[in-house]
Symmetry: none
Subunit: 259 residues, 2 copies
DNA sequence: CTCACCTAGTCCTCTAGACAAGTTCACCGT
DNA sequence: ACGGTGAACTTGTCTAGAGGACTAGGTGAG
């Protein structure tokens, strides 16, 4: 039986935190195993002699830490995969180890022969305001949207969505599911837009419910987001690629410019 | 005056979420600017005609998303570092644009006259296993640990911790709080280690309680972590820099190598 | 046997109020 | 002019209760 301990109301730390502390310790020390159910609110209220909201506050703290998940009507359970706390060495590292060419071109090529891609969706849509701004689209210009999900070891790890202006994609295989050798970057270059420059914005946030589901992660784990914009030699943006990935690490390398 | 809208109790979405949605939109669209104070609980209670806990629940949601920070006795404020796209505002943006000298030297110089650094701590410690491995340290070799916290608009946004092998730091100002012109990279080069190559690992995770406190973020918001290792011309690792950053975006740029 | 229904147990949301504690500022006495 | 006090405002925490919604399991009707 789980030792729920007691709370001390004379001490500075508020009761709801003390309760959270006790439960957190049980989880961290394995006395509450992954998947196991926590004592119900009613039990905790009774045990500690506090009001409902106080217990809920404690549980909420653990939820926001990603240690537990609540299931309406069932109970609160210890998360089976604890959130990432340390840098993990990662297969993405190798992507950026390619020599003599852009790491991302290499990545695109890799995607071309589709190892570990299990879903591809290609549509023609009206551009969102954000995409329109990034691609400097004319009013009402549409975009080709290519969305794909990457797997590693059979588990989904990344969802990438590319937006290419329809004007560039026209007459190419970009709007086809199979883009041919070299992937869409090769097709963009075929269309006369030589790639010259990229910007990337890296951030992290909590996943949306859809993303959580698609990436098979718990609600307490963050996702990395990477928005890459590709420019041609004229400085025209030709592609925006929005990547959401499980927040394990990836690696960038670069050299100090020669003096 | 801020348009607080109204909530619809007939709809499926619970009131506290509707309130959070309204406030979130104001923040995202810039009608509530970074640093600006949100309407107080009392105002929101009055306006929406709900109980205090309902309003607090809404605010709590925004806090856990990292959009706002509450300050006891003062109010709730929009976080000062919103997910920005402006390249210039970010230190990382310029790294890859420097000409003729190491971007990191420039960065270190900038840090030298300490704009927006509010805490510096320098210690001599035994290296952790991870740091020892990255720096290829000999057994029992110690490291100089330099930890600093960066501010933007008066709010903490980043904690950076550098580890330099004692053998390299010896006889330099690296172990001093004030490292002199050019910062530690200049001192490392003074010591005969010309910087040549960097690797960076980027990841995201949930912050530790200490980090949450130091960066003043909500418990549901992730942090970006960046571990940079600097190598000299011999390929010897000379510094490991571990950066934990509020998970708003940062920007990387690079060009396609000439063919 | 199958299916609809009921029920106990769970978490979700909300109400209405209370006291505590931190911040700010005007006011008053010195 | 200066310093202290306190009022007014803010958020933080807690209580006691209510109805709702969801899940799982049992029960009875068909």
């Amino acid at each position: 039986m789980l030792d729920l301990g007691t709370i001390d109301r004379s001490v500075d730390r508020p009761p709801y935190r003390q309760i959270a502390d006790i439960l957190r310790q049980h989880i961290e020390r394995g006395r509450l195993a992954p998947g196991e159910q926590l004592p119900s609110e009613a039990v905790l209220i009774e045990h500690y002699g506090v009001a409902r909201m106080t217990v809920r506050e404690a549980i909420k703290e653990l939820r926001s830490e990603g240690l537990v998940v609540a299931q309406h009507g069932k109970g609160v359970f210890v998360r089976s995969a604890p959130p990432v706390r340390r840098l993990a060495s990662d297969r993405f590292a190798r992507r950026h180890r390619q020599e003599g060419k852009s790491a991302f071109l290499a990545e695109a090529e890799a995607a071309g022969h589709v190892p570990g891609v299990d879903q591809i969706r290609v549509t023609n849509e009206a551009a969102s305001a954000e995409v329109a701004e990034r691609l400097k689209l004319k009013p009402r210009e549409r975009v080709i949207v290519r969305s794909r999900r990457y797997l590693a070891d059979g588990r989904p790890v990344e969802i990438a969505t590319s937006y290419i202006p329809e004007s560039i994609a026209k007459g190419t295989a970009i709007a086809e599911v199979n883009t041919g050798p070299g992937g869409i970057y090769a097709r963009i270059e075929d269309a006369g837009h030589e790639l010259a420059h990229f910007t990337e914005e890296v951030s992290a946030r909590m996943p949306s419910p859809d993303e959580r589901k698609a990436l098979e992660i718990g609600s307490g784990a963050p996702v990395l987001t990477l928005v890459r914009t590709a420019f041609d030699t004229n400085g025209t943006p030709v592609e925006v690629c929005d990547t959401v990935k499980v927040a394990t690490s990836f690696v960038l390398e670069y050299d100090v410019p020669a003096k």
